[in-house]
Symmetry: C2
Subunit: 195 residues, 2 copies
DNA sequence: CATAAAAGATACTACTTGGTATGTTTTACG
DNA sequence: CGTAAAACATACCAAGTAGTATCTTTTATG
């Protein structure tokens, strides 16, 4: 990685961390640059404006991160229902970067920016559609191998699961990890009923 | 209602509408007052600062609204499972004020403010705990009358349902009403499994 | 009506924000 | 090495922000 690439990705990583904790609009460019070797000149050399930086952050930080944690594990699974539960379990309880009080970076950004900015909305849509697609494939695998009932609608299941995730990240901000465990418990019941 | 009470609640109602669409931090006091007969002097006569106005908005606008739509209908119900589904159905599809692209005011505010402001977090916790309490009572009614299985954990169910709601409001911002219907379909399956 | 307090209006300030203008340094490459 | 472009640094600005100081009007009450 060249020095220039390094400053660019440094900006994005730091922006990601701050935006995760404070929100996109509440995180100023100065916030991103303070206590950092990078200056405003470098920032605006690499990004036309704050919006382009935000979109780059989604594509270069959030999208790959999501793909590794959510899509890859689902693709090569033997037991679909078990794998879906594990995905959620690991996502909620085993992601070292995530903090309960700050929720999920993607959910936060959707909540804040989807209604305000069409470009953000498009970029974030791709993100969760990719996740839903992986779940759909997984469910259809289960239907093909007979471990999931044939009348199950994979698209609806994917929507239900991704929605539940976003919601529990939201409530977790208020009630802490306890509701993660409640959610997982009921999710298991829901998933079993698909079998 | 006296004239003063009217200006006060006028500020709160207008703040609620704008904050619903733009977020709390992105809504300036000037935004709230522009195209309105109320001036800044009146605003700061009625509220010590923006934070107190926001807290008053939660208590005087959001809390009563939530109570009417979510708690009251659940309290006097004959068929708990059916009532829970109807609550969600009406909430998602029959609330005239809500718009898919803007989600739910309470969910939005939790997402944005819970990690940033302890007073907001407390006020919003009361809000959703009240809702969860109503669901718990409802489920326990069902357990007592035999329409819900005795091994069902009411607290967990409440958590699961409220989480699902918040999440589908989030995803709805990206994917529109289609996912509301998907969610409702799967929610019904989940609820039936409690019987 | 008188008057004190409540309610509201106006003008201002200190500070933050995204962005720019203009400079200097570093790097790639013939 | 020389030089042009890439990469970065510094100083600044116009717009917007929450909040204040100070004044005027309205309202309730004896």
């Amino acid at each position: 990685m060249t020095k220039a690439e390094n400053t660019r990705s440094g900006i994005l990583r730091r922006a990601f961390s701050l935006i995760y904790q404070k929100g996109y609009q509440a995180t100023s460019i100065d916030d991103i640059l303070v206590d950092s070797p990078v200056t405003k000149g470098a920032f605006f050399y690499h990004f036309k404006n704050k919006e382009e930086m935000g979109l780059a952050m989604i594509q270069e930080i959030m999208y790959p991160g999501m793909y590794d944690v959510l899509v890859t594990p689902l693709n090569n699974s033997t037991n679909p229902v078990e794998e879906l539960y594990l995905m959620m379990h690991n996502l909620l309880l085993k992601s070292p970067f995530f903090q309960v009080k700050y929720g999920c970076p993607a959910v936060n950004l959707i909540e804040e920016m989807a209604p305000l900015n069409e470009a953000f909305k498009q970029a974030l849509s791709k993100l969760i559609l990719q996740w839903q697609k992986a779940i759909i494939t997984n469910v259809n695998n289960g239907k093909n191998t007979g471990s999931i009932k044939p009348d199950v609608n994979a698209e609806q299941v994917a929507c239900f699961i991704t929605a539940g995730y976003g919601g529990v990240r939201n409530i977790g901000k208020l009630l802490g990890t306890a509701c993660y465990h409640s959610y997982l418990h009921e999710l298991k019941k829901y998933l079993n009923q698909l079998q």
